[in-house]
Structure formats: C-alpha cells, structure tokens
Chain length 267, copies 2
C-alpha cells in the first residue's frame, strides 16, 4: 500500500465568501461533456444533491471537485471533508448554471474520478451484454436495473452510449458506482474465450415463462430498433421471448431486460 | 349511420410543385405543442414515416393534414387517398423543419383528430392507473407496454403528462390508437363506484413471484420519485413488490410496470 497524502481542502472565498469561476474552470467542466476528454482525464460530472451525495459515499469513486450553493455546503460539509475532496467551490446559482449540464441546475455539481473495479468475472453469475444501446436514458436505466437485480457487470458493444455521458450518469444514479460497465468489441469478446451461455432477447424464441431460473449466463440485449446484430446471433445459445399478447410492435429495451431478469433470476 | 361526405384531397403545388407554408399554418401547428390548444382543437401532431404510416391505418383516428417530402408522398399516396386526408402538403426539408417538433425532422408530419373509444369497461379485465407520471417518455413507454400486454385502458391522474404531448405521441408510437388513455381525479374515480381490486406497486408488499395470475384488476403505478400518493393508498387492496436483490434505490416506473404485468397476466 502506498501511503496517500491527504489533499488540502480548498475553500475559495473571493467575493462575499463566494467563489468566482474562472473561464478556464468553466471550459474544463464543459469539455467533460465530450467523451474524448472524459477518457483522457478519466473524470466525469455528476449533479444534484441525491446523486452527488451517493457518490460521495461510494468507496470506489474519488471526488475531485465540488461546486455547490451555500445551502448545500451547510448540510454536507462533513461528507465533503470525510472524502478528502480536493476543491470545494461555493458558488452562486448563476455560476452553477454556467457549468451545469442540467436544464435546471440543482444545488451541486461534482467532478469525480471514474470508478475502479476488480477484473470481470463471468462464471457462476449473471451478466448483461448490450449490443448498441444508443439512447443515454436507456443505458442509465439499464444500469439501475442491473443494480436492482444484483448484476455486477455489463459488457457493452463499442457503439453503446458512454456510461459517463452526463445524461447517462444522471439516469443511472448511484448505480454506476456498483455496476461495472465495460466497452468491448462484442464479437471478439464472445469468440475469444469459453464463456457462460449467452441468452439472446429476441422476438422469436422460448417463451420467458417456460424457462427455468438460471444461475449463470450472459443476457444479450439488442439495439433499440435493430435488435441483436447479425454477427452476434451465432453466439446466442438460448433465444428468449417475452410473449406479446396485444399489438405493440416492440418493448423498450430496458423494459424488456427488466422483465427477463425478473423471471430468470432466483429470488 | 350518417353518410359522410368524402372530403376533397388538396394538393397544394405553388412553386415547383411544392407547397409554401403560410405563417398562419406554421403558427397553428406550433400551437399544437400546447395542451390547451390541443384540447380545444382535439387535434395532435405525429411525425416520421413509421408512426404516421401506422396512424393512417388506424380505424379510430382521422387524419386531417399531412405535410411531407416528395419522397414520402411518392411511396404513400395510396394510403393518404384511402384515408380521406383533407389536405396533403408536399414540402421541402426546410419547410418541414419549421413545423417539426423533432430535433431531426423525419420526412412527414401529420395532424390527426384524437382517437375515439367506446366507454371504459373495467370488469373482467386488467387496466392501469397512473398516479402522476410526469415524464413524457415514461408515459409513452407505458402506453406501449399496455399495448404489448393487451391492456386497453389507462386511467391517469390529472397531474400525469398529456398523451398528446408531441414527445408522448412519438414514444407511444401506434399504441395510442389502441390503448384508451383517460385523465381523471383518481381519488374520486376510485371512490365513486365499486371497482375491480386495486393492486398498488409499492416498495413493501407481497413479492411479485408469490402472487398468482389475475384476470381482473387495476394496477396502480406511482409517480417516478414520490410513488403512490397518500390519498390513494386506502384504495389499494393488494400491495405488490418487485424484490430487490441488489442496491438500486428504485426501478424506473415503466420498467417496474412491465415486470409486474409479465408476472400477473396469464400468457
């Protein structure tokens, strides 16, 4: 173990006890809206008292900077100090809206180092694989569903949205600290090693209700409109279908995943 | 049966065979972004070839005006003529983007009369009741879920989003022609008549998997963050819970509804 130096907690009181944001700070935070910059920095943005509060508790996520209104700081200073936040900036609402990615900025914005996880482990457990989920809200919802059902790993195709896109972060909530999300070339991933069986969610297959519970497997979820891509179908060992009783053409990918998991995982 | 006069199909070719939109037309369509105006006119907007195509097939929805690019008209003129559309406007892309509610206008925009349905019928079937679903995307997804599971009626509290909000229309897709969505004061609605039993989706209740199938009931879905409101709890006869195996604080309301329906409806 390397001994970590305790970083200094900065309170930047410039005018009336409030921090004025420098142009360079604003630009840095705005750049975190871009995946390329997030990848280089290994940093992401999370906002709002609930999410920021949860991430300040998470063991595997290091908070770097917090920009917050005085009212938030009054209630949360202890949590900030406990987590060794490098910088705390007390800002006015108008400053917060300069850096916020939300339509309605919500008290606090934090910059966090991406979470660290142990190497993935697919045996004796259920994991998810996402083949091109492109809507950020859908990905965030899927991460929460995984967390609800105690699934710890999601392997995404390279076309799947980025977990640290501010919209995904907001919709996955604290679950992003507990569920490991990796991006891989799925074809290569499936062909490289012997893996637990792949269960593909398809419109034609075994009715979900007639499947038993499973203890091990990878549940493969297709793209919102195109489903599972041709090149991945050969890896699907079991085709699973949610029987359609009415006329809707499709179910939302996250909804379908929630339904499948609720049937195949032993509770 | 009153004999209906066949309306005249207008092709407005002004310049180069294309229709120039008048300011008043643009303003009328934009006003349909407001609930009040939609309610007065009983008209809503739907966009894109897939959704417009589906609504042009629906028996209980009358199309009024279609604004489309030439390429869409070339493929769909027969459908437009068959449905007695009052006005067909062939427009350029830049005209379409003046009236579209989408970030990326998609070939065609239609104005439709709201669908008509027979009086609601709650006995011997399963219906949904939504207590304050505020996100338009969630409402649209719930309408599709209902349609998938052959649920024909959704009773919404007055705080629930409007079905004909352009975002809800786009996310519910053709399902809005098949599922009847009413807005009511839910407290009064539940107290007025004897009704099938109400099943409330709550964090504490009977585990979903230990419930049997049901043939009749109203599934009550709570607001995204506050759940079922205090004043409606007395009407809940059965409390249903999706067991949480991991740590997510909550499931998305639409996902939870899909899970519950997949377990309690006989397939």
């Amino acid at each position: 173990m390397v001994k970590q130096c305790k970083p200094i907690l900065w309170y930047l009181f410039v005018t009336n006890g409030l921090s004025m944001l420098l142009k360079s700070q604003v630009k840095y935070i705005q750049s975190l809206g871009h995946k390329k910059f997030r990848d280089t920095e290994q940093v992401f943005v999370a906002e709002g008292p609930k999410l920021t509060g949860e991430l300040l508790q998470a063991k595997n996520i290091r908070p770097l900077q917090v920009y917050a209104l005085q009212e938030w700081v009054d209630k949360n200073l202890a949590a900030v100090e406990r987590k060794d936040v490098f910088e705390l900036h007390i800002v006015r609402e108008q400053e917060l809206s300069r850096i916020s990615f939300l339509t309605k900025p919500n008290q606090v914005l934090g910059l966090f180092k991406k979470p660290s996880f142990p190497p993935i482990q697919l045996e004796h457990r259920i994991s998810l694989a996402l083949d091109g989920i492109q809507d950020p809200g859908n990905l965030g919802t899927l991460v929460r569903i995984a967390d609800w059902f105690a699934i710890e790993q999601i392997i995404c195709s390279e076309e799947t949205a980025d977990l640290f896109n501010p919209k995904v972060v907001q919709s996955s909530m604290g679950s992003l600290a507990r569920v490991q999300v990796l991006h891989k070339d799925l074809k290569r991933f499936f062909s490289e090693h012997a893996k637990p069986p792949v269960y593909g969610m398809l419109l034609q297959g075994t009715a979900l209700q007639s499947m038993g519970k499973i203890e091990e497997g990878i549940i493969l979820v297709g793209n919102e409109s195109k489903g599972i891509s041709e090149e991945l179908l050969p890896f699907v060992k079991h085709r699973v279908t949610i029987p359609r009783l009415g006329h809707a053409e499709s179910l939302n990918a996250a909804v379908a995943t929630g339904i499948v998991l609720s049937h195949i995982i032993s509770t």
